[in-house]
Point group: C3
């Protein structure tokens, strides 16, 4: 399975989960693995040009304390999730595809999306590209 | 791993995540894969006869805008998650099992569950049926 | 893949998802599998000495009814998630590692963590230990 890609279905649209996805992708790319990211629902929304640098909030369990710590880390220079992903994409082989069904539901057109997104595909294409590699749903 | 099933641990009980699970299952079934779905906690609650067609809400990050878009898609004819799953189950080989431990915690009896659910099993049975196939936690 | 470990990225910090993670780990260990747990964000926070036995709340979709049922199960003697994990760790081979990046963001030191945590590592070390085993993100 050495040559198989890491596959991430990125459904969530909170900054903490987006950062977790970017870190998982980045780590796999650093090990020379291909990475496929498939954007659904709020994960897809987060890649809209007009949303990608917006504050997208955290998972509810963050609480006030967690939110303050994440904000402090950002202020201290921690890269936002989209920057982590952009750097990883420059160094490794990361393909980001929008789920065609979620595009329809959320009325998003390809030109609405940040250039980090490489294209649009359906779920069967995602599975075919995933091969025997791991699939992580975030 | 060609012949291995896709395995979904369905923990979440919001309509967007249920739809994501139904789409992932449906796509895998369309490719001729067996699919095992293991229902825990709020994913299990969603399959109660008296809840399955109820409005179950969305993930918190949907926000008002997201909720309005999902509602509009439903009004425009998008299948609800349980219909997506029902169709997929008629066409492919999808086995839906309730987690026995979650049944106990949530005081659910087998007769409370929609016929989409094929049975009740423990987590070790789930692993044994999962074989070497992917496991996705939603 | 028989000899490969089960790998859990534990991101979530609500009691229901922590319990789900503990049950998945426990079931795999009962089948003789090695289990690697990698703690990120709120999953990591939950392992702080001063938080591990605190009430950490449930996923938002639990609702009042769900919360009441989970509370009743606890009162009726259901083990909390950390006890499930502690027992599983005594019986099987479960390694719990804190994500170094999350440690930095949340300003957590190793001595702040419950002894259930075996060490701290980066995401590439996690992947290398994961081998060809399943990766589940919770």
């Amino acid at each position: 399975m050495e040559d198989e890609p890491l596959n991430i279905v990125l459904f969530s649209g909170t900054e903490d989960r987006l950062q977790a996805a970017a870190v998982m992708a980045s780590g796999a790319a650093a090990l020379g693995k291909r990475v496929n990211i498939f954007l659904q629902y709020w994960g897809l929304e987060a890649f809209r040009k007009d949303r990608i640098t917006a504050g997208l909030g955290l998972a509810p369990e963050a609480g006030e304390r967690g939110a303050a710590l994440v904000a402090a880390a950002a202020q201290a220079g921690q890269q936002p999730w989209h920057a982590t992903l952009r750097v990883a994409k420059e160094l490794g082989e990361i393909d980001v595809q929008a789920c065609s069904l979620s595009m329809d539901v959320l009325k998003i057109e390809e030109e609405d999306l940040d250039p980090l997104v490489d294209g649009v595909e359906g779920v069967t294409a995602f599975y075919l590209n995933a091969g025997d590699g791991h699939i992580i749903f975030i």
